[in-house]
């Protein structure tokens, strides 16, 4: 089957995800995709384009419009030995499925004392910044990261999207796979045969000495851009891509903070009780004497996601991140 795009040229994240799904379908006959509009249409973002044609409707399943059904059916399929990859069309549409995710998918291994396995991947386009209408720009990761039994990851590049989605599908644990839809069309080079980094390891993208700046998913690009601007002002920013929200690679961040003494965390999720808060708590527990300044969070505000005309001011944009770096260094 078509491996035509697996070349040295840069590809978009959508293409990289499509290749990850294609190769997973090729590698394991028990893998099947389920979701709304993922067949003939190829998904509203075209992530599954061409897969129904190449693998058939039994393996790329256009489901009835019920998110609880998608996840609930995935539980039964997993019990029958299948490895379902579910697509939830948009972040704001996942909530009807949260009951099945929290009460069933997350708990079945534990309540069966390891006799049942839930190798389910739930792909969710998440985050804002695309001018969308209500319910299409949310960052629901905290709900899932707060749930024992689920793992939560978010790639930030086409290369990670390809490698991490394949790893998530191969994992015997349920993985919430958050795709930063704002970065769907960004291109990058993918080493299709590279040995992937561990799925839940953070990556230091830029080394620096003055402040540690942490993001994941859509904010990683913003953090990198901010680090370039800060460098022009003579500030050495270390940029870390968390990649995994649960489990959270705390040690990579703590090791960095021990050197820089300062930490700024940028996420689109709401501030309160969010991933940035959890990371801040862990860093103060583990690196208290290394901190030269309070850990600062640059996040979505604690309001419903706003109308798209004002979303750029609401999101953790580069100016807000640079301002936080200034405040951290001013201590």
């Amino acid at each position: 089957m078509a491996a035509h795009i697996r070349g040295p040229e840069p590809v978009s994240m959508v293409q990289a995800l499509n290749e990850a799904l294609r190769s997973s379908l090729e590698d394991d006959p028990k893998v099947l995709l389920m979701g709304e509009d993922i067949g003939a249409l190829g998904g509203v973002f075209r992530v599954t384009a061409g897969l129904a044609k190449d693998f058939g409707e039994a393996r790329v399943v256009d489901t009835p419009l019920g998110e609880a059904g998608i996840i609930g059916a995935a539980v039964g399929l997993a019990m029958r030995g299948y490895r379902p990859v579910c697509e939830i069309q948009f972040d704001g549409f996942v909530f009807p499925a949260v009951d099945q995710l929290v009460t069933q998918v997350a708990k079945l291994r534990n309540r069966s004392r390891g006799l049942l396995s839930m190798p389910i991947t739930v792909r969710i386009p998440f985050g804002g910044g695309i001018g969308a209408i209500e319910h299409h720009s949310e960052s629901p990761e905290a709900y899932f990261a707060h749930t024992p039994g689920l793992k939560v990851v978010a790639p930030s590049t086409p290369a990670d999207a390809f490698a991490m989605l394949r790893q998530a599908i191969a994992s015997d644990d349920p993985v919430i796979f958050l795709e930063p839809k704002r970065r769907y069309w960004d291109k990058g080079v993918v080493d299709w045969t590279a040995l992937a980094a561990p799925l839940h390891a953070a990556a230091v993208l830029v080394t620096g000495s003055d402040v540690t700046l942490v993001g994941y998913g859509p904010t990683v690009r913003t953090c990198l851009d901010a680090s370039v601007v800060a460098a022009q002002e003579g500030r050495s920013v270390e940029v870390i891509d968390l990649r995994s929200i649960s489990p959270l690679d705390t040690s990579t961040v703590v090791e960095s903070v021990r050197r820089t003494g300062r930490l700024v965390i940028a996420t689109e999720a709401h501030a309160s009780f969010g991933p940035a808060s959890e990371l801040a708590a862990r860093v103060q527990e583990q690196a208290f004497y290394s901190l030269e300044a309070p850990v600062l969070r640059v996040t979505g505000y604690d309001t419903p996601y706003p109308p798209s005309r004002i979303e750029e001011d609401w999101l953790p944009n580069m100016d807000r991140i640079l301002d936080a770096i200034d405040r951290s260094l001013a201590y």
């Binding site: 489901t63 609880a68 039964g76 009460t103």
Partner: protein, 360 residues
């Protein structure tokens, strides 16, 4: 309402549900009913004596559950609620496993679902109906529907109650099963009460009629008639296995006891109603039938009685002998691949517990 044995134990025929059953099989059904009721009364007693934290009685529903359970073939798969003690009995699940859940030494009972082709108890109302649908999708993909191989073709039995028919999950399951013609038998035990809410608060039509709107057959069967439940479920399972799609069975029955041992039904239903249903008891009914045909000799009754008593003694002893779980076992099997966070928290718990022991 399909009935093959009336309240006086008189056998009736139904043209759509012929049932040929031997005298020996009839007596085995009686044995099942008596033993399952004995499990129930013993578990209730254990709860009252503080040995179990809670018990959900199946009293009154033995006929429905044994009928459905004995209609299954070994390759069929069951998705239960938390009251399916009779179906579990038919799947050869040791009732001790069920008592583990209600004693609080495990979350869901300790049986291996794949060894018994029956999932663990599901406590959230209606969730398991969607699991049934997904499992049936897998069965179809495995080519085990309509192949004609009676040892391979597989049906899925989704158990739920009248309350679950109001849940979104259950209605989604109906939609999915119909849309993909899945081999699922939806077995609804309408026991008239969802804790304190009567079925009239759930539906303005008889529950079995809901199936028509989804596009598959629905049938109401006398849930206190084990023979009718056996015949109706057997046919629905046959239809499912042969590729004719889902059926909704409404087993019309009654929850004779409280919802659970924590419930007080005197606050919401009257004794007359309970007495009326007591006159339709599923065990009495089969006993009358067997008696009228001279099949209840003293030797048989003695053997059932003795087996029943031995079972109760064994359950009691096994319950009291259940080892207390290790607090650290809370950390087991949360993930296939243990996380560093959990390993650390487990270490913290162990250290703290050890420090208490040192203090003495």
């Amino acid at each position: 309402m399909i009935q093959l044995l009336d309240a006086d134990g008189v056998r009736r025929d139904h043209p759509d549900y012929p049932l040929s059953i031997s005298d020996g099989e009839l007596r085995e059904l009686y044995r099942d009913l008596v033993l399952v009721r004995r499990i129930d009364t013993e578990a209730t007693a254990l709860q009252r004596q503080g040995e179990l934290g809670l018990w959900a009685s199946l009293a009154g529903q033995e006929g429905a559950q044994i009928g459905a359970g004995r209609a299954l073939r070994s390759q069929d798969y069951v998705f239960p609620t938390y009251r399916e003690h009779g179906v579990a009995w038919c799947r050869d699940i040791d009732p001790v496993h069920i008592l583990e859940l209600f004693r609080g030494v495990s979350l869901a009972g300790g049986w291996d679902p794949s060894a018994h082709n029956m999932n663990l108890y599901t406590l959230v109302i209606g969730s398991q109906t969607l699991h049934s649908v997904g499992f049936a999708m897998g069965v179809v993909r495995d080519g085990m529907v309509g192949s004609g191989d009676t040892a391979a073709d597989t049906a899925v039995l989704a158990c739920f109650g009248d309350g679950a028919t109001s849940q979104g999950d259950t209605n989604e399951a109906f939609v999915w099963a119909a849309a993909s013609n899945l081999p699922v038998v939806f077995f609804c035990q309408n026991n008239q009460w969802a804790i304190s809410e009567p079925v009239e608060k759930q539906s303005r039509v008889p529950l079995y009629q809901r199936a028509a709107g989804f596009g598959f057959p629905g049938v109401r069967v006398d849930g206190n008639d084990v023979l009718a439940c056996l015949a109706v479920t057997r046919r629905a399972l046959d239809d499912a296995r042969s590729g004719q799609g889902p059926t909704l069975i409404e087993a019309y029955t009654y929850r004779m006891e409280a919802h659970t041992t924590s419930d007080d039904p005197t606050r919401y239903r009257n004794a007359d109603e309970v007495a009326r249903w007591a006159a339709r008891d599923p065990i009495d009914r089969l006993r009358k039938h067997l008696d009228s045909r001279g099949l209840l000799d003293a030797r048989f009754l003695d053997s059932v009685g003795e087996q029943s008593e031995q079972l109760a003694v064994r359950l009691r002893a096994a319950t009291r002998a259940m080892p207390e779980p290790d607090p650290l076992s809370a950390f087991d099997h949360v993930y296939a691949e243990q996380t560093a966070e959990l390993a650390q928290q487990r270490g913290q718990m162990r250290e703290f517990l050890d420090s208490l022991e040192e203090v003495g």
